[in-house]
């Protein structure tokens, strides 16, 4: 590897991490001015755990992420199986479009159109509507992760099981499922973090009493930089990093 490429890597990673590091360092700042260092302190973490509305919204987010992640995992895995193993079928083009489009569609469009649907059918806005919305936009991501693993699978294993007399369901349960299980788990983790992170879609479809963590953080961020948000952010980054490391170990092990 040349010195030039090494410099590119170093610069690229520095650009990606410098803002996050600054954020984490200043969460331990004793001063309430975010840009002036006033000595080391964990007071903002203490303030964080005493902030009841913030804790409550963290619980809302956690419940929404678990539920919508689970639904997206089921739907995404089924979609990946249909697209990866079913060959040609009449609705294939439609399904492909419906799975891939929400991944790139601007969030404001997804949020607004789902809200209009919920109002139209008279569904009360709250945790349920956020769960539905998040499951919808996360399904594609699960389908991509599981689909990649399905493509990498040795088809001869499944064929061998079928030749030995196993029915389709049995082949799936004893050969395919165990082999794609790590990707399904990785897909769930991805859907979970995407749901945990979403501000825009949740803002449209949530109702009174269902404020998610990003919605709470956003309303505080609009008032200005605040060390307590730095502390909350640092905790979130640490949690996500742990989840990514776990997921990459799951998918790396073959």
């Amino acid at each position: 590897m040349s010195g030039f490429l090494r410099a590119v890597l170093a610069l690229g990673l520095a650009f990606l991490y410098a803002p996050i590091l600054v954020l984490a360092v200043y969460s331990f700042n004793a001063s309430s001015l975010v840009t002036v260092w006033g000595g080391f302190s964990t007071r903002w973490y203490a303030a964080l755990f005493a902030d009841e509305p913030l804790i409550a919204s963290a619980w809302v987010s956690l419940r929404v992420a678990l539920l919508s992640g689970a639904i997206a995992t089921v739907l995404g895995t089924l979609a990946a199986l249909a697209l990866g193993r079913h060959g040609r079928f009449r609705t294939r083009k439609l399904l492909t479009g419906l799975v891939f489009a929400p991944m790139v569609m601007p969030e404001v469009i997804i949020g607004l159109s789902l809200l209009l649907l919920f109002v139209g059918i008279g569904l009360d806005r709250g945790i349920l509507t956020i769960v539905i919305a998040h499951a919808t936009f996360c399904t594609g991501f699960v389908a991509v992760v599981v689909g990649a693993r399905l493509r990498g699978l040795d088809r001869t294993l499944e064929e061998a099981a079928a030749d030995l007399g196993a029915g389709p369901l049995r082949v799936f349960a004893t050969v395919t499922l165990p082999l794609v299980a790590p990707a399904i788990l990785a897909g769930f983790l991805l859907a979970f973090t995407l749901s945990l992170d979403d501000l825009v879609i949740a803002s449209f479809v949530s109702g009174p009493g269902a404020t998610t963590l990003p919605m709470r953080l956003y309303s505080q961020v609009r008032l200005g930089v605040n060390p307590e948000i730095n502390a909350a952010s640092t905790l979130l980054v640490v949690a996500v990093t742990a989840a990514v490391l776990a997921a990459s170990r799951l998918t790396a092990r073959r």
Binding site: V8, G12, P19, L81, I109
Partner: protein, 305 residues
């Protein structure tokens, strides 16, 4: 086509596999669009729901005809003739286009360096690029406020180094929006590019080098043409959501930063004009539909491989 799996033959089991995602996404992705389209033709009203007409199911055929008669293209006329919305659309295109270009210029060398890194370091380096991708978008944008503001860290560092005499005004300017866009979307650009570049046949590079091409020439004449589809896919993956970006212009741009996502947001939340917000959504959709189809086809090719 004949591979085993639940219901690979196209029987009832196969339908059981594809029906749930198909029904769910039709109900919660396709149908909502059609509703948005319909409401973009309605008029705003001070009621709940805040638009007119509302279809009266009980009135039968008569209800339908009076409902259809009340629909019009007034909101689209507003979008077309009011320069505010035209400027918002053009400025969204300009920001997304310029940021995509910068992302290609920054992301390509970075992805290439990742792909050429020693094998034992590669998994770790890729994980390092992935972590920000998974880290909260809101938090990553928020982090830049403390860096870019007048009394922020960047200005403090530049002042101390004596490079500037007075703090630069960066936050709440187009520059800050560009920095935010490039920073937040960089992992989206690098990951698909890396996926393509790490699959490239290394012997082609070696052959070019053996024939006397220097590293720059090898990159430009061998790697770059082969990676072009990946570069295009990465740029699309960034361009499309950036058109509707809300968080970055809202937190880093000034109050005069016009982008469609932000216009839609304020029409909805501040002005409570649902029909006009719907028309903005349809306009945005018309802008991104071409790129979305391109992206879907790329995804379908990938899935069919």
């Amino acid at each position: 086509m004949s591979a085993p799996g639940p219901g690979s033959s196209g029987g009832w089991r196969a339908r059981l596999v594809r029906l749930p995602p198909l029904l769910w996404l039709t109900a919660f992705f396709l149908v909502p669009f059609l509703i948005t389209l319909k409401i973009s033709l309605s008029d705003a009203a001070t009621a709940m729901p805040p638009y007119l007409p509302v279809l009266d199911w009980q009135a039968g055929l008569e209800g339908w005809s009076s409902f259809l008669e009340a629909l019009d293209f007034e909101n689209y006329a507003i979008l077309w003739f009011d320069s505010f919305y035209r400027e918002a659309a053009l400025s969204s295109l300009a920001y997304a286009g310029a940021a995509s270009l910068v992302l290609v210029l920054v992301g390509t060398p970075l992805a290439y360096a990742l792909a050429r890194a020693p094998a034992r370091w590669q998994a770790l380096l890729v994980a390092l690029v992935v972590v920000p991708f998974w880290t909260s978008f809101l938090i990553r944008v928020y982090a830049w406020i403390a860096i870019l503001k007048p009394e922020g860290l960047l200005n403090a560092a530049l002042l101390r180094l004596g490079l500037i005499a007075a703090p630069l005004e960066i936050l709440n300017t187009p520059t800050a929006v560009m920095i935010g866009l490039v920073y937040a979307y960089l992992p989206f650009m690098v990951l698909p590019l890396y996926a393509v570049m790490s699959r490239l046949d290394g012997t082609l590079r070696e052959a070019a080098a053996d024939l006397g091409a220097g590293p720059v020439r090898v990159f430009l004449t061998v790697t770059l043409p082969l990676a072009a589809p990946g570069i295009a896919a990465g740029a699309l993956l960034c361009f499309i959501p950036m058109i509707g970006e809300f968080i970055i212009p809202d937190l880093l741009g000034g109050s005069d930063t016009l982008m469609l996502g932000r216009v839609l947001w304020s029409e909805f939340f501040s002005n409570r004009d649902w029909p006009l917000a719907s028309a903005v959504a349809v306009l945005m959709l018309l802008i991104v539909i071409g790129p979305v189809v391109l992206f879907r086809d790329a995804g379908a090719r990938e899935a069919g491989r």
